[in-house]
């Protein structure tokens, strides 16, 4: 099924409507769009709900697992990937998906992020990248562009910006993509690709925080911000034919990097088998 045809009752099959709703997100937040894309991706792949584990850290985006009818682990700030690594190595037959934000994954969780990429462990990470700390009220994040206003950057942010895609590629992840909350069907396909990929997959998902980022920086409401995201996004394919000048102020979308590196749990298993074959020597 595709984005438009998955009926609402099918969506409800993956939600926990009784206890956890209404959700905590602001009206117009991109988090719900990503959640919808994730559900449709999982439905498309026909994954067994009992075998899916969704792990998250702390922040607006990290509240998502609470609403989802899988095995869900809502952990501590920045640590989702470390918890997820424990789950995956303990039971490699489980599908492990991590939901995280830019502050969660790249600031407090930066160390865990690069090492999960380096191990190339089979975890699909959806990083909802809204360039600000939403839950704590609008502080600057490692992804906040220079010059932008946040409550802890009242005169404009003077720190450099992290690029999670380059960070993941440099750290060894085998599937690195960037999507947006405007381009929903491609986002869904990237999530499907990430889950199917044996190895660490990052889907950096550009999203909107109109409540803080948009308001502080006069970028308008949710619709205006998502429209800006649309204008700034250039697919990898289109970018190949564009001059460098034309790419200023734009960001690339699509599957940016894919390799067939060996996966951590497979390597561990292979090592165990070698050790046992030698009689435990």
């Amino acid at each position: 099924m595709t984005a438009n045809t998955l009926q609402s009752e099918r969506i409800h099959h993956y939600l926990r409507p009784k206890k956890s709703f209404p959700n905590v997100w602001c009206a117009g937040c991109g988090n719900g769009i990503v959640m919808g894309a994730l559900i449709r991706a999982i439905d498309h792949l026909g994954l067994d709900k009992d075998k899916v584990v969704v792990v998250s850290g702390i922040g607006c985006s990290s509240r998502m697992p609470v609403y989802l009818d899988f095995n869900t682990l809502h952990t501590t700030h920045g640590r989702a990937l470390a918890f997820a690594t424990g789950v995956k190595l303990a039971k490699p037959n489980l599908k492990v998906i991590v939901i995280t934000g830019d502050g969660d994954a790249l600031a407090i969780g930066g160390n865990h992020f690069i090492h999960a990429c380096r191990r190339n462990i089979d975890i699909t990470t959806i990083l909802i990248d809204n360039k600000i700390y939403g839950m704590t009220g609008g502080q600057f994040a490692p992804t906040t562009p220079e010059g932008k206003i946040a409550t802890t950057a009242p005169y404009g942010n003077y720190e450099k910006q992290f690029d999670p895609v380059q960070l993941a590629i440099g750290s060894g992840a085998s599937y690195v993509a960037r999507g947006t909350v405007y381009h929903v069907a491609p986002l869904e396909r990237m999530i499907i690709g990430g889950i199917q990929k044996k190895g660490f997959a990052l889907i950096d998902t550009i999203s909107n925080c109109h409540t803080y980022y948009g308001r502080f920086n006069k970028e308008g409401d949710a619709v205006a911000m998502i429209n800006d995201i649309r204008k700034q996004a250039v697919s990898v394919k289109a970018a190949a034919t564009m001059s460098e000048d034309k790419l200023i102020g734009k960001f690339l979308t699509g599957v940016i990097h894919e390799t067939d590196a060996t996966e951590f749990c497979d390597e561990y298993q292979a090592m165990c088998e070698r050790v046992l074959a030698k009689g435990g020597k």
Binding site: D50, P65, G86, K91
Partner: protein
């Protein structure tokens, strides 16, 4: 040499902990190198692959603690081992394990502190951290052996307590215990009880992961088993969903405390020596208990009516047991390798007529029997 002695092995404390964990059926070890605990991780790296177990060296101790909680929720008996600085880093996720009632074992081989302190020297200055190390209200179980053999048995017991009460259990060692070597006979399989958490068998829709049952300890499902539940460090209701309702908050916090308090008789373990007629007692744990027992022997040879008390369970603190033991004791010497931690607990529980006398050493060395003996002679006057 008889057959029993032929099975005796010369082991160090860290090795005995590792063998104890394997005996208890550990399935997952996540750790980070730190002196003086590293031999435990090294042993696990060698042994786990041969036994179908999982070993991972994480990027730091925060991640180590996170990984074992993840693995435990996936159904594995899990553990880590560390020392002071690493134990500090683990406090964040230790709190998560208490809150989410996740069984796991954390071995802390104590060295001198604060900060990097004395990496290769002995200390007992994490005693209070083992009880109060992470933020918030919770109750900890902490055990502390005083011999190589004890390292083995207390590690097995730590796993049993963790699985029984669905909580982290801390094993407090110290640098000397971890590295000293003694002979011990590793018990045969089946010789001592090994407990594994109860799994639910109710229909899926009846299962509540954090149910407050009359026993306060409910069966625990694992990820992948078919019971899809939410685990959160946010204060949660019995289904695991975040709550801000005063009654649900109080019910949760009471459960964390009461499930330990109610079973404290089952958890608390003490060893005593010559306490029957003692007017003076020496209270100590870990390596100091070893020297204290020797000091008591020396004093008894001089007809001083002194006895020794050693808690093998430090937390929960054995309040009732000590009140009873100190009934006829005029003076209790509290000997520890820190600037005074358990002495405050003894002051809290000691009867009015019992004088509490601290004896502390914190120069990175073990308190000797003669130091304790001298103190006994001083207070007997």
């Amino acid at each position: 040499m008889n057959s029993k002695n032929s099975k005796a092995r010369l082991l160090q404390g860290n090795e005995a902990c590792m063998l104890g964990a394997l005996y208890a059926g550990v399935e997952f070890f996540g750790g980070y190198p730190i002196t003086p605990s590293t031999e435990i991780a090294e042993g696990m790296a060698r042994e786990m692959p041969k036994r179908g177990g999982k070993f991972i060296q994480m990027e730091d101790e925060i991640a180590s603690m996170a990984s074992i909680i993840g693995a435990s929720n996936a159904g594995c008996k899990s553990m880590t081992a560390t020392s002071g600085p690493g134990f500090s880093l683990m406090q964040e996720n230790l709190g998560y394990a208490y809150m989410t009632e996740t069984p796991c074992v954390v071995i802390n081989v104590q060295r001198g502190g604060p900060s990097t302190g004395l990496p290769t020297k002995v200390g007992q200055s994490d005693t209070m951290q083992a009880r109060w190390g992470t933020h918030g209200d919770y109750t900890s179980i902490t055990v502390a052996p005083s011999s190589v053999e004890g390292c083995f048995y207390e590690t097995v017991r730590a796993f049993n307590l963790a699985e029984r009460f669905l909580t982290p259990v801390i094993v407090l060692l110290d640098e000397v215990m971890a590295h000293m070597r003694e002979m011990m006979v590793v018990p045969e399989e089946g010789e001592i009880e090994v407990f594994k958490r109860h799994r639910p068998d109710v229909p899926r829709e009846w299962y509540r992961h954090f149910e407050i049952t009359p026993s306060l300890v409910s069966p625990m499902a694992s990820f992948g088993q078919g019971y899809r539940y939410n685990v959160s460090g946010l204060t949660h209701d019995q289904d695991g969903f975040p709550t801000a309702k005063p009654k649900e908050i109080v019910d949760k916090l009471n459960k964390l405390r009461r499930k330990i308090e109610r079973y404290s008789d089952e958890i608390i373990k003490l060893r005593t020596e010559k306490m029957e007629d003692a007017h003076i007692a020496v209270f100590s744990y870990g390596i100091v208990a070893r020297t204290a027992f020797q000091a008591v022997k020396m004093a008894r040879e001089r007809r001083i009516k002194v006895g020794a008390i050693q808690p093998l369970t430090i937390w929960p603190f054995p309040d009732e047991q000590l009140r009873d033991m100190l009934k006829n004791v005029r003076k209790v010497i509290v000997a520890e390798l820190n600037m005074g931690q358990l002495v405050h607990e003894i002051r809290r529980v000691a009867p009015r007529h019992t004088e509490v006398i601290p004896l502390q050493r914190y120069d990175g060395n073990v308190m000797t029997p003669s130091e304790i003996f001298d103190k006994i002679r001083e207070v007997v006057k």
